[in-house]
Every structure is written in structure tokens, then in C-alpha cells.
């Protein structure tokens, strides 16, 4: 994820000239080179594969969803409070999945926003270059740990050892709390990296001006650097939300598999991703309502993350234009 990288995708270095001209209408173009044209066409096709992927995702999700919504009214899907697609009296209200997703995402943010921003402020404003060179890669290891391993940790250590044995909390085998908190740790690097980049992009002159007026480093950080970097920080948090909503393995392992409205984080719950992962295990026949349900939930998930991503990309654009 690459959320970090994605914000760097379209940075244009200010001093870099435009790419070599591609117009062949120039007087110096010489004879046409067909081999070269074929290669360029191939490269263009490769780039088009990314568009094809997005279009493919939309078609792949939309077609079974149309079949699904032919049987289940959209409003019943979006606002129904009972999710029981496999029962005899099947019911397709997606709200239980959404509440569980909202819980895990919110809990993840409770962990990741303060810790991620704390780490980012320390790395951008306080750490010496040498210390930063050591701390940053270690922090990024957190993003490299496979999500199944986080899932194992959430279930075996956080839920069963800490919550049940040490704290004696009234909770079952699974809880959205354990899944959410561990997921929060996973997205710390996402939030920390992008926020740190945006704080580092704040001109040094602003800090010097603030220091010259007698502000200490905390005041400089909170009142000068933080507001100046705010759009980047918001983008980081929004991307963190997107990752939390789409995260699958942690919730599939530790959050439980009963879809019901979650009122208390110690309960178990099934998120949208958790449902897709679980339902896919029971081999559904193509064209059956179970199969279509997968894609309807997938479409909802995709649209939610798409919306979040575009908000984030917009924020990044704004912060890039600031200086």
C-alpha cells in the first residue's frame, strides 16, 4: 500500500524539463521508424492496462450486483438491519456489516492518528538526520508485517491473552476491539509517512521566523508547521481510513463472523471485507444469490474506498500547490 507511494506518483520536480517531445511533426523527425512506433504502442498499451483494470473492476462488480439488486431492493440492502444471506428466510440488510466496519475503522484511527502524528512530528521536527535514518525504516516494518500475522497477533495475544486472561474483560473468542486496535498499529506508518512528508515540505523559513519571535519548538510545531501541513495530514488520515475500511485478514481472523449490529466493541462483528472473505470460503455457484451478494458488498466497499481515495488525492494536490 503504497498509500505513501501513491501520493508521490505524480510529483513533478520543479527543475525538471518536460519529457522529450513526442511529436513527430518536427522538421528534424527524420524517416519514420516503424520498430520504434511499435514499441511506443506497446508501452502505451501497458499503460492502458491500468485503465482496463479499473474498468474491469467496475464491470466485474457491477454485473453480478445488477443480478443482486434485481432480487433485493437497493433501499432494503442499504438500510436493512438484518444480514443473513445464507439463512432460509434470507435477509440482506447491510447495516450490520457497515456498523462493524465503522467500529474497526474508528478504533484503528483512535490508535493510528495520535501515534502516527506523534511519530511524524518527532521525525520531521525533532529527530536529527541520523536518528531519523534509523527510526523511519523501523517504523515502516510495521507496514510490512503481513496482515495474517497481525490477525494471529490480534486473536491469540490481544484478544485471548490480554483481554481475557490479563484484563478479564467480558468478551468472547472474537471482538471488534482487538481487530480494530491491531489494525490501528498497522496503519501507523501510512499516517506517519505522509504526514512527515508534508511537514518536511513546510519551508524552513517559517520555523526560523517562529523561533525568532521567541516560540519554542512545541509552539512552532503546533502553531506554525502543523497548520501549514494540515492538508497533507488530512490526506494521510483519509488514506489511513481507506486502508482500514479495506483491510481484510485482521478482521477475518479476529473480529468474528457473526453479522449483527455492533453496539459494544467487545462484541464480535463481521465487517464488509470479513463477509467477503468468509462467504468466498463456502464455494458459491456462479449466478446464485450467494455469489451475487459477494459482489454487491464488494461494489459497496469499492465505492466507499474510491470516494475516500479521491478526497485524499484532492487534499494532496492542495498541499502540493501551497509552496
Amino acid at each position: 500500500m503504497t498509500a505513501v507511494a501513491s501520493t508521490g506518483g505524480s510529483v513533478d520536480r520543479p527543475n525538471r524539463p518536460a519529457p522529450l517531445s513526442t511529436t513527430s511533426g518536427s522538421a528534424f523527425a527524420g524517416r519514420p521508424r516503424y520498430g520504434e512506433m511499435a514499441i511506443k504502442l506497446f508501452l502505451r498499451v501497458a499503460a492502458a492496462v491500468t485503465i482496463a483494470t479499473t474498468v474491469g473492476i467496475l464491470i466485474a462488480l457491477a454485473i453480478p450486483s445488477i443480478g443482486f439488486f434485481a432480487e433485493v431492493p437497493v433501499l432494503e440492502f442499504l438500510f436493512g438491519t438484518r444480514w443473513a444471506p445464507r439463512f432460509a428466510d434470507a435477509s440482506f440488510g447491510v447495516l450490520p456489516l457497515i456498523t462493524a466496519t465503522a467500529w474497526t475503522t474508528a478504533l484503528a484511527l483512535v490508535v493510528a492518528v495520535p501515534l502516527g502524528l506523534g511519530a511524524a512530528i518527532f521525525l520531521a521536527e525533532y529527530a536529527s538526520p541520523r536518528l531519523r535514518k534509523v527510526l523511519k525504516p523501523v517504523l515502516e516494518i510495521l507496514a510490512g508485517v503481513p496482515t495474517v500475522v497481525y490477525g494471529y497477533f490480534a486473536l491469540q495475544f490481544v484478544q485471548s491473552t490480554v483481554f481475557k486472561e490479563w484484563l478479564g474483560l467480558p468478551t468472547g473468542a472474537f471482538s471488534v476491539l482487538a481487530a480494530g486496535l491491531v489494525m490501528g498499529v498497522m496503519i501507523i506508518p501510512t499516517i506517519a509517512s505522509i504526514s512527515e512528508d508534508s511537514m518536511s515540505a513546510v519551508p524552513q523559513a517559517l520555523r526560523q521566523g517562529s523561533a525568532a519571535l521567541g516560540a519554542n519548538r512545541m509552539q512552532t510545531t503546533l502553531r506554525v508547521v502543523f497548520p501549514a501541513a494540515l492538508s497533507g495530514i488530512v490526506a494521510a488520515i483519509v488514506l489511513g481510513i481507506s486502508r482500514a475500511v479495506g483491510e481484510t485478514m485482521i478482521v477475518a481472523i479476529a473480529a468474528g463472523s457473526q453479522a449483527r449490529l455492533v453496539a459494544n466493541p467487545l462484541e464480535q462483528g463481521q465487517t464488509m471485507t470479513g463477509f467477503i472473505a468468509n462467504a468466498a470460503l463456502g464455494d458459491s455457484r456462479v449466478g446464485s444469490i450467494e455469489y451475487d451478494t459477494l459482489f454487491a458488498v464488494g461494489l459497496l466497499l469499492f465505492l466507499i474506498t474510491l470516494l475516500i481515495n479521491f478526497i485524499s488525492i484532492r487534499f494532496v494536490r492542495r498541499f502540493r500547490e501551497a509552496y
Binding site: 505524480s10 513533478d12 511506443k40 499503460a47 512528508d197 468466498a280
Partner: protein
């Protein structure tokens, strides 16, 4: 795995911070603030250490040769992860073959040939950014629908998993390759063109060779992400009892993360220990891959 981000920040970073350490922090509030900042790092690293200690302690009894040589079994004392390890290798190798040429080609197009004002190229650029943040499980659904449309009955085959993972890491490879190409100075290209090379000759003989270390680093990091990924494969039905060695791209398979997921969900304690041991193995593999990536970057990366 986020080293791509690191390279960006390193290049836009200005000079040293105004001060470092605790010098100049006299007000208690400012000191408290600094302590809180430290604390957030300590908590993050503390969780990482706890996680590693947990899986090492849980898995120590099962981390034996049996893990590498045996097939999954109904009893934890006889079970191993041999097909999962081989399956991971097959899937990652196939993914690499599928996605690296495609990703590099797309990045070369965007970075070296594309007219930035053209709507198509702008759409591709925005799209790559967006694809990088699409949930991984959606790629699984895409592959599932694709295979269903082709009429493939048994979707648990290496090539299907590799297809989903390829599309998943394609944006990562494109972004990393673009970074690498961008760091090649313009003068190299201009010199080549001035000597009469065509655009493609310039790219093929000058720009790409100079960018290979960066591309290799990015590709290895992307593949290490694919190695740890389980969700799309789960959707494709990779959670099965595999009691044979996968032997080709149409062979059935399971992978290490899927095997860990399977063992974690079993009731017996012995399987949880096996899951922990396999997690240790997976982490070691990832650290090795990242180590190779960092080695390549430090050893071969040119600085202009």
C-alpha cells in the same frame, strides 16, 4: 516496504531541524510534549517487538524441519507447510513474470513518452494513484469474476492467484519505476539524443540501465507485499487441503499466508503453534527480501 515513500521525503527534505534532542526545552509543557512524541514511537515499536516475541514464543516448538518437509495433516504433530512454501514460490514467481515487464513498460510510457497534457495520460496517472489504494480483496473479486466469465471451474490454480496479485502490485511497481526513471538526470538523455540516438534507443541503452537498481528495489518490495497477501487468494478459493507439491501454473496450490490463516482458525492449540511458526518463517522471508532490496539500492544506486 514503504521505502518508496522514504526516497521522496529524502529528496524534498530541507536542512537539519532547528535543534535536536532536548536542548532549549525549558517549559514543562514543551518537555511533556516531547515526552509524548517519544511515547508514541515507543508504543509503536513496543507493539512490533511484542508481536515478534509472541510469534517466536508461540512457534518455537513447531519451528522444526517438519515445517519444511511435511504436508498439512489432521494432527498438528504431523503437519507441515511444505506445499504452502512451494505454492508461495510458484505464485510469486508467476506474479513477477506477469507484472514486472508490464509495470516497467507502463512507467516508461508515463515518464519518458507521455504528453502530460493528453487526457489519456492524465487519466492513467490519476488511475494508478487510485488503484494503489483499492482494497486487496477487490482484486480477488475481479479475478473471480474474470475466471467465471471464462468458464473456469476450478479457480484455485497458480495462474489465477498470480493474476490477482499482479494487478494488485502493478501500481506499486509503476510508481517505483517512475521514481527510479525520474532520478536519472536529464543530461544523460540529452547527451544520448544529441549523439543521434532515437528516443527508444535512449531509453533502452541509457535511461533504463541507469534506473535498474531503483526498479529492482521497487519490484522486490512490491513482490514482498504480494508474498504476504492473503485476501485475494482467499476469495479465489486457495484455502484448501493441498497434499501435493504444486508443479506448474495450472496446478492447485495454497500459500504460506493462507496456511497461517487456516491454522489460526483451528481449535487445537498445536495448530496455533504451527501458525506462529509459519508466521516466523514468513517474516524471515520478508526480511530477507527487504534486505536484498536495501542491499541493491545501497550497492548499485548511482548518485548524480
Amino acid at each position: 516496504m514503504r521505502t518508496i515513500g522514504t526516497t521522496i521525503s529524502a529528496s524534498i527534505r530541507p536542512e537539519r531541524p532547528i535543534a535536536s534532542g532536548t536542548n532549549g526545552e525549558r517549559r514543562p509543557l514543551a518537555l511533556l510534549f516531547l515526552v509524548l512524541l517519544w511515547l508514541s514511537l515507543v508504543v509503536a515499536f513496543g507493539v512490533l517487538v511484542t508481536l515478534i516475541v509472541t510469534i517466536v514464543i508461540d512457534g518455537q516448538n513447531q519451528f522444526t524441519w517438519r515445517l519444511f518437509t511435511e504436508f498439512p495433516a489432521s494432527s498438528p504433530d504431523r503437519a507441515g507447510a511444505r506445499p504452502a512454501i512451494l505454492g508461495s514460490m510458484w505464485v510469486i514467481a508467476t506474479t513477477a513474470v506477469l507484472t514486472i515487464p508490464l509495470g516497467v513498460a507502463a512507467a516508461v510510457h508515463l515518464e519518458e513518452f507521455a504528453d502530460k497534457k493528453n487526457w489519456f495520460n492524465r487519466a492513467v496517472e490519476l488511475n494508478v494513484q487510485n488503484l494503489a489504494a483499492v482494497p486487496s480483496i477487490v482484486y480477488g473479486l475481479l479475478a473471480l469474476a474474470f475466471l467465471s466469465a471464462l468458464g473456469v471451474r476450478d479457480k484455485n490454480i497458480v495462474i489465477a492467484g498470480a493474476l490477482a496479485l499482479s494487478l494488485l502490485i502493478l501500481p506499486v511497481i509503476i510508481i517505483a519505476t517512475r521514481e527510479a526513471l525520474r532520478s536519472v538526470p536529464m543530461e544523460i538523455r540529452q547527451g544520448s539524443l544529441a549523439l543521434g540516438a532515437t528516443q527508444w534507443q535512449t531509453v533502452w541503452r541509457q535511461t533504463l540501465p541507469s534506473a535498474v537498481p531503483g526498479i529492482a528495489t521497487g519490484a522486490i518490495l512490491a513482490l514482498s507485499r504480494a508474498l504476504g497477501e492473503a485476501a485475494p487468494l482467499l476469495v479465489l478459493g486457495a484455502l484448501v487441503f493441498v497434499s501435493f507439491d504444486p508443479d506448474g501454473i495450472f496446478s492447485g496450490y495454497t500459500t504460506l499466508p493462507i496456511q497461517i490463516f487456516n491454522w489460526t482458525g483451528r481449535p487445537q492449540e498445536g495448530f496455533h503453534e504451527l501458525a506462529a511458526a509459519a508466521s516466523v518463517l514468513l517474516l524471515v522471508l520478508l526480511v530477507l527480501m527487504n534486505g536484498v532490496a536495501i542491499f541493491i539500492r545501497n550497492k548499485f544506486q548511482k548518485r548524480w
